[in-house]
Symmetry: C2
Subunit: 241 residues, 2 copies
DNA sequence: GGTCTAGTCAAACACTGTTCGATGGTTGGT
DNA sequence: ACCAACCATCGAACAGTGTTTGACTAGACC
């Protein structure tokens, strides 16, 4: 037998197993968790299969055994994050406040993970967490006495409305950073304000007049206006007829 | 001089200029128009610089001289399409209907170009057409007597609301086709309905109960509910105080 | 021991947006 | 007529992407 101390000749090109093998096998859950961590830290454009692989100390190809595709992974990520939204148990007397509370919770989650809304586009959330949220929201609407049809339409509209708001709110980002710092954001807002103010007033009387309002418009206030209008309108519609 | 009739010997490997040169030079406008045509025909995922180049009978690198980057191109595409939305001249007596009309027009454009909302994400539309639409919408709101602050907040919310609705409506597409045919869409809806109906009723009483409503929920009706609620709510808020 | 299978992964494929440098046509100046 | 400058085009290359293939290995079962 050959002495194991003697290294094999270099031209034999034995596979290098130094970095291989030792692996408590990666699990689907670990992949999803690592993906969310990477997304939170570095934003949507930083998530690639290779990058995620090395984050887990694994090869990119290994991931496919567990999640099938990047699209499949994002489905899992989406449902995982939907699990973070809180929906209260229905109380018929307070259904309007409860609806607003779920909307606020949904917005909070979308702000905590600014890539979320972008990921959700084109996906119909049907994972276990999504089902839970949907069921809970419908329960609140029905507790409010809405008709079956209006409950469903209202539920769908609520999601669209909150998503439409947050997709805008979290839209200008992801040049790498998950969310640009407030000062940078303020600078962008100021530039926009200055540009608007510099337009020819005879052609854009309203914009130039309202340039200051654009700069100071508060997203929190705006969101509250939105859900006020929406929930009120829904209640009014339910009460009519 | 060499007789131009005699072809050069093949080993000389002169550059092949057969497909080169003859080009009434491509213009920025022509590029944008071709991009929109390609997007309308084959959807967002079909738009690549190489593909767009050959669509114009040009090389991909040539496009960069005119539009700078793909992102820059999409900015131009966005503003061009925003130019398709119609906003009426303000009439104080009819400002609520007029607001709804612009919302409907915006939706129509987004349905005619299903990739539009996706393109608009992360972009602040500031092209000439966007300015025109913004100015016109603000004019209507101010004609309605809204305060400066509420006018701006209302304008921003209107856009978010309509976009949120249409991003959902046009979301499930672009596997290549710009919009899947209605039958396919109905099949997806039916599958979702069946799946919802098959859930355990004790855990999801409301979803199973309302499964039918999900399948039959009409987007047109839903959109009308949405703008009804929104415009009404905005008017009520303007009247209060 | 042997066989089987679940899991890992390097390498390759076909794409993507973008940059570089070479090339040519056109224009204006002399 | 010549020559330089400029505008515009584009092949080739670069770095990156998602995904597939096929070889491989470690552990479990018989």
């Amino acid at each position: 037998m050959a002495d194991p101390e003697i290294p094999p000749p270099p031209w034999q090109r034995l596979p290098d197993r130094s970095s291989r093998k030792r692996r408590e096998p990666i699990s689907r859950d670990a992949i999803v968790a690592a993906a969310i961590g990477l997304l939170d830290r570095e934003g949507l454009s930083a998530l690639s299969m290779r990058r995620l692989g090395e984050e887990l100390g694994a090869g990119a190809a290994s991931l496919y055994w567990h999640v099938g595709s990047k699209d499949g992974l994002l489905d899992l990520v989406l449902d995982e994050l939907i699990g973070e939204v809180e929906v209260p148990d229905p109380d018929p007397a307070r259904w309007q406040q409860q609806l607003k509370e779920t909307a606020r919770s949904q917005r909070r989650v979308s702000l905590r993970h600014p890539y979320l809304v972008r990921v959700s586009i084109g996906r119909i959330p049907m994972g276990p967490n999504a089902l839970r949220v949907t069921e809970g929201t419908l329960a609140i609407l029905r507790a409010g006495g809405l008709s079956p049809r209006l409950a469903v339409q209202g539920y769908l509209l609520l999601i669209d409305t909150v998503n439409g708001f947050t997709v805008d709110e979290t839209g200008v980002e992801d040049g790498g950073a998950p969310q640009l710092p407030p000062e940078e954001l303020q600078k962008v807002a100021d530039m926009a304000r200055d540009y608007i103010a510099s337009l020819p007033p005879e052609q854009f009387p309203n914009m130039t007049d309202l340039a200051g309002e654009f700069a100071f418009s508060d997203p929190d206030e705006r969101f509250e206006i939105l859900i006020d209008i929406f929930v009120d309108g829904l209640a009014r519609r339910a009460a009519a007829r």
